[in-house]
Symmetry: C2
Subunit: 360 residues, 2 copies
C-alpha cells in the first residue's frame, strides 16, 4: 500500500539524497525539489535483503507433477554463430584481404577479468578475428586508458574497442566509456547507443552483447516476446538496463526489479520471461517463478572450487535445480548466456569491420 | 500464461517484422534471427482494444466508503515555479544584462500545435524570457528546418531550441531532433540526453519537460517514489519512455504498459503511482486503479466543445470522476501536468542560459 502523505510541499529529503545540496549550487534547480540524478545513485545492495544460503527446496516444488524445463543451450547456439562468423571473416579475407580487429583494454588484475579477456582473445583467434590487448596496471591513470583508446581509434585495422569492466575504483568508468569512438563501441555502452536503443524509430550502432545474446536465445527457442510480461532483475548499465530496453523494443511488457523493489519474488512470479542479472548466487528460487516461465540467467558469480581448473567455478543468479521444476526453459550457468555474450562481441566486431570497409 | 513453444530454432517471423529482410542486407545480421530494431516499430494502436465510450461507472466504485482524492494542483505549483524563474531572470538581467532566449520552430498548422506554441510564448514573456518563433509551412522541407536550427544555434542570444511536435509526416522527426545542438536541446529529446537519463551515474544536460514536471509534482506532494510500484501507460519517446526512465532513477519499480500489453488494467491496478501518457480519453477507468494510488494524467486530447473559447477543450487519459473515488491523489486535465510542462521548459531554458553565461 502506498502511503501518499500529502504535506503540501514541505517534503524533506530522505536517505540517498544528501549530495543534492552540494551539487545544486551549479544548477538553477534551487527552484525545484528534484535533485540532480547522480545524487540519487546509490549502491545496489541485494545481499542485506536476501539470504544467500541455499537451503532446502520448498516442499511445494517437490511434487509429482514436476515440469522438467528445457535447457536453453547457449553454448551450442553460440558455437553455431561463431562458425558462421568464421565463414564470413574468411570471405572478407579472401575478397578484400582484410579481417576484423578487436582491441581490448584490460586494467584489472582480477582473476575473472583476466579470464574473460583470455576467453575473448581465444574466441577471436578461432573466428579469424585479429585481437590486440593492452594490459595496464591496476593503478593506471585515466590518461593511460585514454591514450590506449586513442591509439586503437587511430588504427584502421582495429574495428572494435572494448574496455574490460569493472575498472579499478579510482577510474571514472562512465567517462572512460564515453570516450570510446561510437563506430568502434562494440560493447554498445556509450550513452548515445543506449539512447538509440531506448527510443523507438532509432537504431543503435551496436546493441550490447549480453542483451543481444539473451534476445537471440529467446528468438531461437521460439519464445514469444510480444505482449508477454518480462521481468528483468537487476538494472546495471551494462546488462539489466539495456536488456529491459531491448525487450521493450520487442513489445514485451517489462518490469525492472532492483534492490529497492518491494516483494521482488511476487513481481518475478508474474513474468512469462525472467532475465536475472544481479550476480548473487541462488537469488532466484523456484518460488520466484511462474509455472512455465522462461528463465534467462545472466548472473555469473565465481565461487571457490578447488576441483576446477582455475580454482573456482561460475554460478548463476538462479537456483537451477529448483527452476527446472517450475520453468518451461532455463539457461544453465555456465553454458547459457556467457557463450552468447562472446559470440555477440565477435559479431559486433565483424559488423564494425563490414561497415568500415563497406563490405557486405 | 506463456506458451513457450520450443521449436529448435525454426521460428518464423510474425507480424511487424516484415521489413527485416529488406534492411538486413546492409548488416551482418543474416547470422542472427534478431532483426533491426526499427523494423519492429509499429504504430501504437490502443483504439481497437479499448472502447472509448464513457459508460456507466461500475457499481463497485459507487460505495459509501468512497475516497475523495486530493487534487494535485499543477497550475498552482507551476505558477509558483514560474514566479521564481521570473525572479531569477530579473537577477540575471540586472547582473549581466542578459536574459534567456527560447527559439521555437513550428512547422504545423494543427490547431493544438499553434496553441501549445502560443502558450509557450506567453509564458516566456511573463517570465522575462526572450522568445523567437520560426513558422514554416506544413509542406516545408527538412532542409528548411535544419536551416532554422542552424540559425538559432549560431545565435548567442538563444539558449534553448525546440521543434514543436508532431512534425508533418513527410519529415523525419528523429533526424530533426538529432540535429539539435545538445546544449540547446531544452526539450531533452536528443538520444544522448535519453541515454544519460537512462544510465545510472550519468546526468542528462536536460530532462524532458513533461517527465520532469511529473516528478516535481510527486515530490512536492510528498509522494514516496523509492521502492514503490509505478506503472507508466504509453511509451512515446517524448513522455512515456523518459518518464519510466526517470522514475527508475528515483528507485521506483517501473512497468511500462503499451498497446501490446495483455491485461493492462490488471497491471495498472498493481501500481502505487500511475502515469498515463497515451492521449486517449477515459482509457484509465476507476477499475484500473488500486485504492490509494496516485494518478498523474499526462494525456491531453482535444475534444470539440463549441462552448470553449477555441472551439475545443482538452481532456485526459484518466476518467477523472471515477479516479477521484479510488485514488488518493489525481492531477486534473487541464491544470495538472500541462502547466508543469511549460514551467519546466522555462526552467530548462533558464538553466541553458545560466550555463552559457556561467551565471549562478
Amino acid at each position: 500500500m502506498l502511503t501518499a502523505v500529502l504535506r503540501g510541499g514541505s517534503v524533506g529529503f530522505r536517505k540517498g539524497l544528501g549530495a543534492w545540496k552540494a551539487l545544486s549550487t551549479s544548477r538553477c534547480d534551487g527552484i525545484l525539489r528534484s535533485p540532480p540524478l547522480v545524487s540519487l545513485d546509490v549502491v545496489e545492495d541485494w545481499s542485506t535483503r536476501f539470504d544467500q544460503d541455499y537451503g532446502e527446496m520448498p516442499a511445494s516444488l517437490n511434487q509429482s507433477n514436476e515440469l522438467t524445463a528445457a535447457l536453453i543451450d547457449g553454448k551450442a547456439i553460440a558455437d553455431e554463430i561463431r562458425s558462421e562468423i568464421a565463414t564470413e571473416v574468411s570471405r572478407m579475407k579472401t575478397s578484400i584481404g582484410k579481417v576484423p580487429g578487436l582491441a581490448v583494454i584490460l586494467a584489472s588484475q582480477r582473476r575473472e577479468c583476466q579470464t574473460y579477456v583470455r576467453n575473448k582473445v581465444i574466441a577471436c583467434e578461432e573466428a579469424g578475428i585479429r585481437s590486440d590487448v593492452t594490459e595496464l596496471q591496476d593503478c593506471c591513470s585515466e590518461d593511460e586508458i585514454l591514450c590506449a583508446i586513442t591509439n586503437f581509434n587511430e588504427n584502421p585495422d582495429i574495428h572494435g574497442i572494448l574496455v574490460q569492466l569493472p575498472l579499478p575504483q579510482h577510474l571514472d568508468e562512465g567517462r572512460m566509456l564515453s570516450l570510446l569512438p561510437l563506430e568502434k563501441d562494440v560493447d554498445g555502452f556509450h550513452p548515445l547507443n543506449m539512447g538509440n536503443l531506448a527510443m523507438r524509430g532509432r537504431e543503435p550502432l551496436f546493441i550490447s552483447c549480453t542483451p543481444k545474446g539473451c534476445i537471440e536465445l529467446l528468438l531461437r527457442y521460439g519464445v514469444e516476446i510480444e505482449g508477454k510480461r518480462a521481468v528483468v532483475i537487476g538494472r546495471s548499465n551494462i546488462v539489466g538496463l539495456p536488456t529491459s530496453l531491448l525487450l521493450q523494443r520487442y513489445h514485451a511488457t517489462v518490469t525492472v526489479v532492483h534492490a529497492f523493489t518491494e516483494n521482488p519474488e511476487e513481481i518475478a512470479r508474474e513474468a512469462d520471461i525472467v532475465v536475472s542479472a544481479v550476480g548473487m548466487p541462488n537469488l532466484v528460487r523456484g518460488s520466484w517463478l511462474k509455472r512455465g516461465a522462461v528463465v534467462i540467467d545472466v548472473g555469473t558469480y565465481p565461487v571457490e572450487d578447488p576441483n576446477s581448473e582455475y580454482g573456482y567455478r561460475l554460478t548463476g543468479d538462479v537456483c537451477y535445480e529448483e527452476a527446472v521444476k517450475v520453468a518451461s526453459a532455463v539457461t544453465p550457468v555456465p553454458g547459457g548466456v556467457g557463450p552468447m555474450t562472446i559470440a555477440m562481441l565477435l559479431l559486433n566486431t565483424l559488423e564494425a569491420a563490414k561497415r568500415a570497409y563497406n563490405f557486405y
